[in-house]
């Protein structure tokens, strides 16, 4: 502080300065001015228990899956879903709602709409109960309706559960149970509905939401110290669903060694490594060890892996005299011979009349959009599903791997 000038500028010489006796009175609000928004944000995000803050975090009091008001409104407006109607009244001009089966629906936040009324919000135990109902009684139950409809209903109602969680600033252990079931459901759906027409099921939308839920779940594991009995399962599902993602791998590598060395996570890491090393033979072999849900998580990448094998082999075996037995190739791809031949055809790979594959680097072509139907190649997963019910799949705790 040694650069002091001797000349002092008196206050009155400053441009526009108020005269000595009239200091501007600014209250705290004015002082904070434009910076207020920033400060409030920081305040809100902080969870220090301060008096005025406790009053601003909404706390739900609704003890039913659907708030009473909403049920009345939707009943009056004839906006009940048939899963929510009182049995026997479905054909009526205005069906009646069944309070034990009605579930709060998702509604877009809108200006002027108060989504924080406690009577409309469900507290954590009710939310968990709701999720269990949706899984056990809707998703897993036999239905006269196609599963695409079941999915759409459950997806929407789960979204409303998420909304309640966010509005009430739920965090940590309260969320984990709900998020785990939701993630399992969406992963299963991504496999079961694969190949359905776009108007009935959009894989991209499923993916966007699945990634959000998964990301939130993994954050919960990080911020609240355990025990998290299912963490191994979900870290490995994340690795498989996001095959090849450097970001997911880096995140996993930074987990504690004890966790990283659990069988499911190790296997998922090996599979990712095989992908990065471009060794589809190894990848497909390792994939055999996955359980059903893990295979569902991985399945959308399997087409790419199989194509990759054909691409790499097209180059590695490229010669006029190449004769590679179709059966051998089928074994490597874990497909039957006819599906293998079909896959080859889609990629421009020639299969001669003696069932020998003639690889040629010039011949391989990327199959056009929509020519490969993943659903046809689902055998790796479907074989594992055998005796499992939907309820097993979504409600299970840690499933053991096939060795």
């Amino acid at each position: 502080m040694n650069r002091r000038r001797s000349r002092r500028i008196s206050h009155s010489q400053r441009r526009g300065a108020p005269s000595e006796g009239q200091w501007r009175q600014r209250d705290k609000e004015q002082w904070q001015g434009e910076g207020k928004a920033q400060v409030r944000q920081a305040d809100e995000e902080e969870q220090k228990p301060r008096q005025h803050e406790e009053d601003t975090v909404p706390k739900g009091t609704c003890q039913t899956m659907c708030p009473a008001q909403e049920l009345r409104d939707r009943e009056a407006q004839n906006r009940l879903h048939h899963f929510e109607m009182l049995p026997g009244t479905e054909k009526d001009r205005r069906p009646k709602g069944d309070p034990s089966r009605a579930v709060k629906e998702y509604s877009r936040p809108a200006a002027g709409k108060d989504s924080t009324k406690p009577s409309d919000l469900r507290p954590p135990p009710v939310l968990l109960k709701t999720v269990n109902y949706l899984i056990n009684d809707i998703a897993a139950a036999p239905s006269l309706y196609p599963w695409t409809e079941v999915y759409t209903f459950v997806f929407d109602r789960l979204r409303a559960v998420k909304q309640d969680m966010i509005i009430q600033r739920m965090s940590g252990l309260d969320c984990v149970g709900i998020l785990e079931r939701t993630v399992r459901f969406l992963i299963y759906a991504s496999y079961r509905l694969c190949g359905e027409p776009l108007r009935l099921y959009d894989p991209r939308i499923n993916d966007i939401h699945l990634q959000e839920y998964l990301s939130w779940l993994l954050d919960c594991y990080m911020t609240k110290t355990g025990p998290h009995p299912n963490q191994e399962e979900f870290q490995s599902l994340s690795l498989l669903y996001n095959l090849g993602s450097a970001r997911t791998m880096q995140h996993t590598m930074q987990l504690p060694l004890r966790l990283r060395s659990t069988p499911n996570i190790k296997l998922a890491l090996f599979i990712n490594q095989a992908f990065l090393e471009r060794n589809p033979v190894r990848l497909l072999r390792l994939a055999q060890k996955l359980n059903f849900l893990q295979t569902c998580a991985l399945h959308r990448h399997l087409m790419t892996c199989r194509q990759d094998l054909l691409l790499v082999y097209s180059h590695g075996y490229s010669s006029r005299n190449c004769r590679f037995p179709l059966d051998r190739l089928a074994k490597l791809l874990f497909l039957d011979a006819s599906l293998t031949a079909q896959l080859c055809r889609s990629c421009g790979v020639e299969v001669n009349k003696d069932n020998q594959v003639v690889f040629s680097k010039a011949a391989f072509t990327e199959p056009g959009q929509g020519t490969l139907h993943c659903k046809l190649y689902h055998s790796i997963a479907s074989e594992k599903q055998r005796d499992l019910t939907v309820k097993n799949i979504v409600q299970s705790c840690v499933e053991t791997n096939k060795k």
Binding site: Q38, A42, Y313, S319, C322
Partner: protein, 391 residues
């Protein structure tokens, strides 16, 4: 009371005389004034308003409240107030750029500390505070980037590289590298890009080089990281070492192994076993070396890249087989035997074929596999092209 008046008047004069660097010191936490308990006030607003015009009254008041918070080790509060200082810091002309630099630097540091504090209490989402700091820095960046006044000397565009570097640090920390792209694009299209200070350019190239590594663009990564290493000041041993940590794996992937002297000079002996394993084609040693120094490699974020060296190691091993057998028609069994000698037990003939096919596809081997004859047939000319010429 007197100390406060002195500081305020110094700030006032610095602003009046447009002394950017001096003003920056008075608002920076690197400067010793922050340790003075007579400045650590909980409510200095009135005193500031008496002397200073907006926005400086708010800035200085927030700064003083910040010193109070830091003295109490409450970094969450400190971050809050630093936000206010930073918010005002880009409103001035470009003489105040040093102020913005000092303030945003402290903002990032406080965000870091605040996050650690919150994590210890089990509160808040991970990366929350750093993301908010990044948003603020980004708005400062936009203000600078859109400064379109005529005279280049007066332009706030000079602040762009410093802010980019701060943002890179955050994005790398929170593992959101894709957010670096718009910054890189903005700097790349700016006509100032070669005229920033050497220190800023080294930092910039370091991060862009690391991003290129992440994107598997190794030629580009080598270019940037080499620049950073060569131009990094001789006396910054620590920085040179940091750059080398990333430059080494890239160079190894391109076939250039570091010398022992280099590794010893920069205290990076963790790489020595890796280097040896790769050049010898010794997969066993490579796996051992990677697992021995796993913690270090993971912490630096290079573990996954080093795994890519496996392919190079296979290539080196198979080249040895070729040199030993001295024929252009190599039985596949031979490769399997070589792998077994390296104690690689879990690879069978199918996988050997896949590995070879991949090496051919990548251009590391010139030839083809004959399934009927169970042989790898290689070109008579240069079947194993030098690594630097591939990829």
């Amino acid at each position: 009371r007197r100390v406060l008046d002195v500081v305020k008047e110094d700030v006032y004069e610095a602003i009046d005389n447009r002394e950017g660097s001096f003003c920056a010191e008075l608002l920076s936490f690197k400067h010793p004034h922050v340790a003075n308990p007579r400045l650590q006030l909980a409510s200095p607003e009135d005193k500031c308003q008496q002397v200073l015009e907006p926005p400086y009254d708010e800035m200085v008041a927030a700064h003083l409240r910040c010193t109070y918070a830091v003295a109490n080790h409450d970094f969450v509060e400190a971050y809050k107030f630093q936000t206010l200082v930073a918010f005002q810091s880009h409103k001035e002309e470009n003489w105040a750029l040093p102020v913005m630099f000092a303030v945003t630097l402290d903002l990032r540091i406080f965000a870091n500390n605040a996050e650690q504090q919150l994590q210890k209490k089990g509160k808040g989402q991970p990366s929350e505070m750093l993301e908010k700091a990044a948003e603020q820095l980004m708005s400062c960046f936009r203000v600078c980037a859109s400064d379109n006044r005529a005279g280049i000397e007066d332009s706030k565009k000079w602040g762009m590289m410093f802010l980019s570097n701060q943002l890179f640090k955050i994005y790398f920390k929170i593992n959101k590298l894709h957010l670096c792209k718009p910054l890189i694009r903005a700097i790349d299209s700016s006509n100032l890009k070669n005229d920033y200070s050497p220190a800023q350019k080294v930092t910039y190239k370091y991060y862009v080089g690391r991003k290129a590594m992440f994107d598997s663009d190794f030629k580009l990564a080598e270019e940037f990281l080499s620049y950073a290493f060569d131009h990094c000041h001789r006396s910054s041993q620590k920085n040179k070492r940091m750059i080398l940590i990333y430059l080494l794996p890239v160079k190894m992937l391109l076939g250039h192994m570091p010398t022992h002297q280099l590794l010893r000079k920069y205290d990076l002996m963790q790489f020595s076993d890796v280097t040896k394993a790769v050049s010898e084609g010794n997969l066993l040693l490579l796996n051992e070396a990677l697992s021995k120094h796993e913690t270090f490699f993971i912490r630096c974020g290079i573990f996954l890249i080093l795994e890519k060296l496996k392919i190079i190691t296979y290539r080196n091993l198979f080249k040895k087989v070729y040199l030993l057998l001295r024929t252009h028609q190599l039985p596949l069994e031979a490769f399997l035997v070589a792998l077994r000698m390296m104690k690689v037990e879990d690879v069978d003939i199918d996988e050997v074929q896949c590995i070879l096919a991949n090496l051919i596809y990548m251009g590391h081997i010139k030839g083809y596999i004959s399934h009927q004859h169970q042989k790898l047939v290689v070109s008579k000319q240069n079947p194993f092209p030098p690594l630097s010429s591939v990829s």
